[in-house]
Symmetry: C2
Subunit: 234 residues, 2 copies
């Protein structure tokens, strides 16, 4: 049965199977440490047959990266309903699901290793960052984002990456805490920008007006207020 099914697998189906097998292996070890032999063995086919579908290790890596990048970009898509804090929190939960699922592959990609530091890989990383940026901006209800808002959103996307990489390195802080913290970081970065710029202040006030007091943003303001002593001595 298996042999028959295997023989009948079409080109595209076989390619997708190999990509799936590669991604599964990359979720346990860095792509740099996974050989074509292992991918072939895990897929139950010969090494030359893998090369028949993907001319080189790099092309299989890039195809796997393509699928992972599309998957990640999809996770930033969120209905434009309800308070922004809650939306961002759901996005962060899905982002950490992805990071947890692809652990070593994600780390290797973001840190740039020999196998995956190609310009194609770099371009795909930029593309996902751009997709994340555009999704967040769409949620803010701002047509053409001013430079300061663009900075806040792009900064936040890079913060989410850094935080996820550090989380993978030992998982010393529970991911749920980091997901919420990143939502708060967004509010904090926006507030810092708003403190010095009227346009940003107007955008921030509009966002916050829709937030419930018991939501992610309201809780932060309460806690910061209680922290109290944060105010420097006069």
């Amino acid at each position: 049965m298996t042999t028959v099914a295997r023989r009948r697998m079409g080109v595209e189906e076989r390619k997708q199977q190999l990509i799936g097998v590669a991604l599964e292996l990359f979720s346990h070890r860095s792509p740099d440490d996974v050989s074509i032999d292992e991918i072939a063995a895990a897929a139950g086919i010969s090494r030359p047959l893998v090369y028949h579908y993907f001319p080189g290790k790099q092309s299989l890596y890039e195809a796997a990266l393509r699928r992972a990048a599309d998957d990640l970009a999809d996770r930033f898509v969120e209905p434009r309903e309800g308070p922004l804090g809650a939306r961002l929190l759901r996005v962060m939960e899905r982002f950490f699901d992805f990071v947890e699922q692809h652990g070593p592959g994600f780390s290797a990609l973001m840190r740039g290793g020999p196998a995956i530091g190609s310009s194609t890989a770099t371009a795909m990383v930029s593309e996902v960052r751009q997709a994340a940026y555009e999704q967040i901006v769409a949620h803010l209800g701002v047509g053409r984002p001013p430079a300061r808002l663009e900075l806040v959103v792009r900064s936040w996307v890079s913060l989410a990456e850094t935080t996820a990489l550090l989380w993978l390195d030992g998982r010393r802080i529970p991911r749920a805490e980091l997901e919420l913290q990143l939502v708060h970081d967004f509010a904090a970065l926006a507030a810092v920008s708003a403190a010095y710029d009227e346009e940003m202040a107007a955008i921030l006030l509009r966002i916050v007006a829709d937030e419930p007091a018991d939501g992610a943003f309201g809780d932060l303001v309460d806690r910061l207020t209680r922290l109290g002593g944060v105010r420097p001595q006069p």
Copy 2:
């Protein structure tokens, strides 16, 4: 005279000259767009002679990167005196001096192009990030930083990179504003972390106790307080 001086230049001196010439060219155009021919011409020597000192384009690029990385790491060194906000602001000023000086080279390196996306380059970037991290931690007067503090400091280092890259892309926001904003971002990220963790709260309160009311941190708190309406509706 020039010829005599040139002939007498020692190997190390010549190498340093070529590195300086390369960095000067990379401050105007991406390393990927600068050829060995141009470097040779700018140094006033022949192309084969460049190859005599650096066996390939990559080795000259890496030597230039080495010098730039050391230079950048040095700029994070700051005397441990006075309020933290003022120290961080001086560090950010020197960081932006570096970014301004090395513009296209810095962008290309951080975005990872074909010429400079090598694993050596990646390792040097990590090394500078680590040096920056260690310098900042030393200023916080914390022996072994807890995981949450490590996260705040590493996040902030990545934020400084993202902000600088976005600044280079059109310079739409004055750099002095961004330097101050990054100092505030540090305080904001620490405050978010402190809002949910007692150990971080104790560290933050200790830092802030030394801040003058008219310093970088005090000014932020004043402005945020004035922003007022940020508090969500009950």
